[in-house]
């Protein structure tokens, strides 16, 4: 099953490699991983999307907690949460495609953030499935380049991950 883990970790050199090293050494899966410092610059927050049986996820959580630099770990998917991913996608925009791309971007509530005579670069945010849906909805031959950040997540309502 898919799980989305939020990790608060000391913002120190090598901390990321400890996390990724743990996943590869123990044979766990990383579907995506995002990381950036928080409002407290001494700390980073990671969002790791992974999958595995409940036993495996329990071990992943425990092993992450065991890392000396990890401050806190929660499994966001245990309760209601929001996740968002950013995609930048460059598409061919000539002839009738140009209008079509603009329309699709509007439907998906994306934004065109760079324009040339032949291309659009579109910014699209949402859950991963929405970004997948956009890719499916447009003509695959028109896609020149895509880049996706992987999911970032946060708990709904009063649920807070903080030290």
């Amino acid at each position: 099953m898919r799980h989305i883990l939020s990790v608060l970790i000391e913002n120190e050199a090598g901390a990321l490699s400890r996390v990724t090293g743990l996943f590869s050494a123990r044979g766990y899966n990383i579907d995506s991983l995002t990381v950036q410092t928080t409002e407290d610059l001494t700390m980073s927050r990671m969002t790791i999307v992974t999958h595995g049986s409940d036993d495996v996820i329990e071990q992943i959580t425990k092993q992450l907690n065991k890392l000396v630099e990890v401050v806190k770990v929660i499994d966001l998917s245990e309760s209601e949460h929001i996740e968002r991913e950013l995609m930048l996608i460059k598409v061919r925009a000539i002839g009738k495609d140009r209008e079509e791309m603009k329309r699709m971007t509007d439907i998906f509530r994306g934004r065109i953030i760079d324009v040339t005579e032949k291309t659009y670069t579109i910014e699209l945010t949402g859950p991963g499935e929405k970004l997948d849906a956009f890719i499916k909805a447009i003509d695959s031959a028109a896609i020149l380049e895509t880049v996706r950040t992987g999911a970032s997540g946060i708990g709904r309502g009063e649920r807070i991950l903080k030290i």
Partner: protein, 587 residues
Amino acid sequence: MEISGAEIITRCLAEEGVEFVFGYPGGAVLEIYDAIFKQDKFKHVLVRHEQAATHAADAYSRSSNKVGVALLTSGPGATNGITGIATAYMDSIPMVVISGQVGTPAIGLDAFQEVDMVGCSRPVVKHNFLVKDVRDLAVTIKKAFHIATTGRPGPVVIDVPKDVTINKTEFSYPASIAIRSYNPPTKGHPGQIKKAVHLIGEAKRPLIYVGGGAVQGNASQEVTELVKLLNAPCSNTLMGLGIIDGTDPNFLGMLGMHGTFEANLAMQYCDVLIAIGARFDDRVISVPNHFLAQPKKIIHIDVDPSSIAKRVKVDIPIVGDVKHVLTDLIAVLKETGARPNAEGLADWWKQVEAWRKPDCLHYEKSAEIIKPQFVLEKLCKVTQGNAIVTSDVGQHQMWTAQYYKFRRPKQWINSGGLGTMGFGLPAAIGAQLANPDAQVACITGDGSIQMNIQELSTAKQYHIPVKIILLNNRYLGMVRQWQELFYGNRYSETYLEALPNFEKLAEAYGHVGMRIERPEDVEPALREAFTTHKDRCVLLNFITDGTENVFPMVQNGKGLNQMDLPAHMRNLQQTPFENNRDYGNLC
């Protein structure tokens, strides 16, 4: 006054009460060695290979309540130390390793003797540090000792670039340290302890299974008290030996792949298992499904939450320091008076004694050829079970675990998790330095001893009077045993054809060498080594039976009640002997 990074290192080590640093100099650590030359707070022990530095530091920790320290130079010095770091990591041994690094401006430029030590060691350390600023050095060393020794202990590496050892700053060593992201558990949850007491009160066939965590957690007294309070049988893992006196009637011997008949069957057929500082690893329970096919309730006490439910799901996990948890558990047991069902327990003991009776460690004695088991029985007799015993890895290690009756914890020093050949001799050196008045024996084989034999030179330099008990069977015995049992006697590369004359080799290093070929000479030779040559390092080259195998044995993929047994027990059934007892689903 500002002092250099190198001086800060020596001052910090002195502040930590370090007595010995095991190391080997080189370019990146020249400043540190200069600072060592100028101080007299601790001694440096010059090994002959960096692997030995880490093993010696490790064994220094294992045989005492102090922390072993190793000092390695950058590049090959550091990578040579990795095997010893991994060995300590697998057995959760506290150790601090300082490695030199090329100067910070040269890092990443493939400089001479540069290796990414933080990267290389990351999978085999509890934590590691690269110190880029001399002002962070003292606090990093403080953190390293704190992390290495608390919670589930382990090795910590501090990588120090050369310019950091040269640069100067004001020195102050923090008296204590708090790390917000690191808060190891201490006390166990009272609710869980109550549940455990309730379960113990319902037990008919309890077993107490104790591993190395109880040794590292200094919980010998508490374990023994619990065993006596419940009058439960107790078995130890390879790493747990000595936690309860090996001659205690409640002690069933080691369990696992080469565990005793009675311990393995008790493990399989118990109804309430109390696991203390043990991790249900493959060499202990073999296949989890087979182990759990016989219904049992499990209480698991461990300081590391990730050890719980890793291979086996348990009913009552208790996360905490084993000493604290056991103290609380014993208090609640006394308060409530909860004890295992008396009738059930009496029946259980009858069964256990019936399993014990055929004596699974019995072997055919010989008047012609030295049996390896015989040497270990005699060693135990001559040293009165009191020696600190280190071992290498293989058949001799298992026989030592089976035949030497350890009396106390921290007396048995071996590489259990990683199974590192070459561990024994440097470990004996470390253990002897930590315990200068103890008799120290290193049990080894003709394969293992050659993996770090250069340390005979270290033993000479520092007058280390260890006794090397070499069980020389001309084979890599454990591999040969597997080839005999599972590979149709095809002894692929396990016969050592060009062995040196070990006793002459020992003499060449300046030690006493002895060759023993007759069974009747075994005991006198041991006595001579431990009395006449008390103050010398002695290598006793015992020419042993090369065909001997270690039994009982649980083959890979088999259950604990499917042991290969020694000849005199081959036809014995491995289920409870009386079927009218309530053992649930027999498998």
